[in-house]
Subunit: 102 residues, 2 copies
Amino acid sequence: MNIFEQIPKDLKEEVFETILSSEKLSIERIISHGQSSPLSGWYEQEKNEWVILLQGEALISFESKEDVTLVAGDYLHIPTLEKHRVAWTQPNVVSIWLAIKY
Amino acid sequence: MNIFEQIPKDLKEEVFETILSSEKLSIERIISHGQSSPLSGWYEQEKNEWVILLQGEALISFESKEDVTLVAGDYLHIPTLEKHRVAWTQPNVVSIWLAIKY
């Protein structure tokens, strides 16, 4: 299995795919294609998340700290309940994320 | 922080760096530079491991199944106690792994 392959053709919405799911953690591939989170809302997750952008470019906003720009290879940790949203992903390019939630 | 940057200069031995460590899981960056595991021994870990090769090329051998060749983006799951070794990594290229142990 390769993280850069088998990209779905329909990318009108962001695609969330579970690669691994266990009691202790989940590993997801997220594919964005110019999408951003709904302007109206923040993600506020009950789990900790470690996320790495493996392809593309993105901007993540946080409610209580500065925006973070991500290029391929950049990773960050988003603790439980830290409000964040994907403010921007590169248009015309498939952005590929790997997210570990635990 | 970027997974492809800040590569140590001394790569005579494989480099293991802990990115995140919690009760439930650890996330490690492993950097190989032509190394392979000692011929004499197998890795036989008490934890499950999900590993993705992000740069370079490698060959993993298993005691009880066929070898797996990995190129950038390839991932695999190595269950607890499955005996395996890194039989080969590309020489003259820095191979970068991300390993999630849980």
